[in-house]
Amino acid sequence: MMLKTLQVQNLSLKLNDKILLDDIQFELEQGTVTALVGHNGAGKSTLMKAILAVMEKTTGKIIINEQIDQDSEFLSFKQQISYLPEEPLLLTELTVMQHFQLYGKSYQIKEDVLNRKVDRLVKGFDLVDKLNEYPESLSKGMRQKVQTICAMLPDVPLMLIDEPFMGLDIYAIDYFEELLKEKLKDGTTLLLTTHQLDRVKDIAGFFILLQQGKLLSKGSIEEFDTIKRGTDNE
């Protein structure tokens, strides 16, 4: 039986009496890719933020690797997740390399391992001469590349990716896809949000469809096509 990397049970989230997530329930198995789909305001990013505990859930349970509970082992829980936001969250006051070091220290990556990874990734994303630059001196695409490298540094069981490929050029997208496949091979589970399912169809095996904070349907990506056609025909 496959290890369940993420279990979301009866998750609800209210903000000022407004229900943003309503009784969400799903599981992700190890080494799988699941696309979180839905229209704007469906609750995709909110769900990610609830998993990260950036937004406090009202009820429900979130468990990683079948044992690390967000409520009872919060610090360990955070160590298991790497998050790639839609908009870079880089600090104005830290250079590119200093960001990598911050990620390395936060995820307890040894210095030589970190340097090896950084060396490889900056070459891949063509950022070799930008290591000592501050984010504001980089283009938007470059900042997104830096944030992408940050998220790729730790070896964690779960990666949350909000709108992958956003702001990346085609070469960077190809390289990023390659890296994601490597991560999958190593057993990392990916949960990614997207508006454009076509772009992640090649790597995503499953989907979760959200609508107005509710889980409308879930299943394999092939089933999603049937659902979509059905909805389109109505």
């Binding site: 610090l75 360990s76 969250l89 006051e93």
Partner: protein
């Protein structure tokens, strides 16, 4: 012939529309917050306030003698004003260039307009506005108080003139490195101390001549090494921070913060030594620079309180120290929680105890200005108990710090641990500081406090981040 509009017209158009937009926003907020009934009462209150200005004028005329004494004394001290006012401008230069030059003005310079001329118009606008502000304020003071026109014009004129002469120094200082700002602040503070000690009229005149000379020196370099983006970003924030709108919409305008006050040094660009100490120390620095306003307000208030208390009596000095210990440790605890709820740190794993270890150094730095007024007091009132009392006060501070930040850590870890006993212990420690003034033997409890500190530190070192993982 060129069809290009004149710069003055374009700037006037820009400012008129900015004012219009702000007016519309205020109107919307007002409509949201005030209904007809409240509006009626506000109108009545406004009328009453207007009338009260004249009632107030009649009332204070009764104290004419007092005003005349004040006026005579104040007239003799105009020199102090000349040396004291620049200090405010130098202090402001830490975060404010003093000239309203926003991203809109900056964008105009991308067109065919000269950035130098735009800047010059902004400066002229500032001077003209401040002239009318002081003129109207002065007239109001002359109207409602028995103060003479000559006195009011001298003071308002000095305020306006110093504002004018400090425009360039503030502009250039804003662009300078922090240690130049601190150096200037110290020089001006020294000039004020000399002025207070000698009470010599010529110090004010020297300061004025010096200011004119500095302006002449700065004129050729007005536009050299200017970080226009930073100036615009800061002014955008300043212009669009509208408390009424924030209150009505229940939101708070956040500064873009694309530019930091610490950037641009080669040393800071180098990669960190790969230690928690180096990385988290910088993160605290970043955090405190973003909360500089709040930190300086708290430290400034405590400093002022202690300066006043030092002149009252010994009991108030110890009371002041106890209040400072309580306020600083409470602020540290609240900053500790907030640090993890902002920016990139929010989404990263947290080495809470490493962050705690690096925070204490910053706390010690914050203590320095608070300790300064107390040191001369203790030197002048030295007793044999004093060294023990000082060790005791510091221990009580550390104990309170550990207890409060441990509670913050517990909150961040989402634990349901109760801290009532620890908080009572911390509170007793703070109260004992006050008691130790009249009963110095209380300071001997330092031994117990050191034991407790070790216990709460042990809570930290025994449960390491590695173990938590």
């Amino acid at each position: 012939m060129s069809n290009q509009p004149r710069l003055w017209n374009v700037l006037f158009f820009l400012k008129r529309n900015r004012a219009r937009k702000k007016r519309q926003l205020r109107k919307m907020a007002f409509q949201l917050m005030v209904d007809k009934t409240t509006g009626f009462y506000l109108l009545v209150l406004g009328g009453y306030l207007f009338a009260s200005i004249f009632i107030f004028g009649d009332m204070i005329n009764k104290y004419e003698g007092m005003f005349l004494t004040f006026e005579k004394a104040a007239m003799e001290r105009v020199g102090f004003l000349i040396t004291a006012l620049p200090m405010a401008y130098v202090f402001q230069s830490i975060k404010n260039p003093g000239i309203i030059f926003t991203s809109s003005e900056l964008k105009l310079s991308y067109l065919t307009f000269s950035i130098k001329r735009i800047w010059l118009y902004c400066v002229l606008e500032k001077w003209v506005k401040s002239f009318f502000f002081y003129l109207l304020s002065g007239l109001l003071v002359v109207l409602v108080t028995p103060l003479s026109f000559e006195f009011v014009i001298t003071y308002t004129g000095t305020l306006w003139l110093i504002g004018l002469l400090m425009t360039l120094p503030q502009w250039k200082l804003f662009q300078s490195k922090w240690y130049i700002k601190v150096g200037c602040l110290l020089v001006v503070a020294l000039l004020n101390i000399v002025n207070v000690m000698t009470s010599a009229d010529y110090i004010g005149i020297i300061a004025l001549v010096l200011l004119v000379f500095i302006n002449m020196l700065l004129i050729p370099s007005i536009f050299q090494f200017i970080h226009w983006g930073r100036v615009a970003e800061l002014n955008d924030f300043k212009i669009w921070t509208m408390p009424l709108i924030e209150r009505a919409s229940n939101t708070r305008l956040k500064r873009q913060k694309r530019y930091s006050i610490f950037q641009n040094t080669k040393k800071r660009k180098k990669p960190f030594r790969y230690t928690e100490k180096a990385i988290y120390h910088r993160l605290w620095q970043v955090y405190f620079s973003k909360n500089l306003d709040l930190v300086s307000q708290v430290v400034g208030t405590l400093l002022l309180m202690l300066i006043i208390f030092v002149f009252i009596n010994s009991f108030f000095v110890f009371l002041g120290i106890a209040v400072a210990v309580h306020v600083i440790t409470s602020l540290a605890a609240s900053f500790f929680v907030n640090r993890f709820k902002t920016d990139i740190i929010e989404v990263l794993p947290w080495e809470l105890y490493s962050y705690k270890r690096t925070l204490i150094k910053w706390l010690h730095m914050g203590l320095v200005p608070i300790v300064l007024p107390v040191i001369p007091y203790f030197i002048l009132n030295y007793s044999l108990w004093l060294p023990i009392q000082l060790v005791f006060i510091y221990s009580a501070f550390l104990l309170t710090y550990h207890i409060k930040v441990n509670k913050s850590i517990s909150i961040l870890r989402k634990e349901n641990k109760k801290f009532q006993i620890e908080e009572v212990i911390g509170f007793i420690g703070v109260v004992l500081i006050v008691i130790s003034e009249s009963i110095p033997t209380v300071s001997l409890t330092v031994l117990l406090i050191v034991f407790l500190i070790r216990k709460y530190q042990k809570d930290v070192t025994y449960v390491t981040d590695e173990q938590i993982r």
